[in-house]
Symmetry: C2
Subunit: 151 residues, 2 copies
Amino acid sequence: MYEQLRLDNQLCFRIYTASRMLTQAYRPLLEPLGLTYPQYLVMMVLWEKDNQLVGDICQRLRLDTNTLTPMLQRMEKEGLVIRTRGIADGRQTLVSLTRKGHRLEEQAKEVPSCLTRGMQDTGVCTEDLLRLATTLDTLMGIMETTKEGQH
Amino acid sequence: MYEQLRLDNQLCFRIYTASRMLTQAYRPLLEPLGLTYPQYLVMMVLWEKDNQLVGDICQRLRLDTNTLTPMLQRMEKEGLVIRTRGIADGRQTLVSLTRKGHRLEEQAKEVPSCLTRGMQDTGVCTEDLLRLATTLDTLMGIMETTKEGQH
DNA sequence: TATATTTGCATCGTGTACGATATAATTCAA
DNA sequence: TTGAATTATATCGTACACGATGCAAATATA
């Protein structure tokens, strides 16, 4: 029995599980909006700035086109976005919000607080969560650079 | 523009991205073993204790049978585990390591240190990572209880 | 003890993730 | 300027995740 292979010693398993649990926590809040969690992320990117290229969204969410293209196609079918071929550069695809997609922001703005409310008075202080965010940013920065080192 | 909908303010997005990046970091280490990251988790559970029920593994990894059953079937086809119907209780399925599955532990024991080595001298101290783990545990504990409150 | 309920697992359908490959538009180079 | 590399997306195949449903074995109940 190797100590380093114990599940409880795996930071990665914690992050993996926390990620799934958070997505599940979002589900009941996003279902009324007709969004999955990854789609909600795309919408946040577009609410921040409309009319973005597929590549822009890829960069922002750190997802590749092989994940985003089908997702955007589903969102287009749902009437949330429109995909138009680039005029200047014919290879590009521009993603824009529809009126429906824009309106959804009003409903979505309640989602974050709904999720946070459930965590009030439960022992996690804001300070802990800020530190969590900072450490994750550091960790991701490292993984970003070590990944590049492999090329 | 609602401040609470800014992507950079989303703790969940950080955890979601960190989880994907970590899985990607594991990939080149696990590929020689013929394992995906979720399969590696199953193997860790079985290396800790052989001959476990599907339900035991589900509980440990917080995954449902609709995820694990197909995964275990693939692993059985790869010759890593054997699934046998429970004798005492005919509904149960017992998952056991094959000789090949056992042997894999010897190779796998190098994986965690390989991953950690790349992070040496990069600014994240062990203390930060321990705090990260603690906060995540607290967070998951909260989500566990608030989820139950919905029933 | 016959039937209703529960339990443990499997199956199905949809939506991500992601490596690999394809394709068309653009740019580079000879 | 024409063919070769590059770039921006798209498509394909495989493997998760997970809600919903199915099913047989076990248990509870009348």
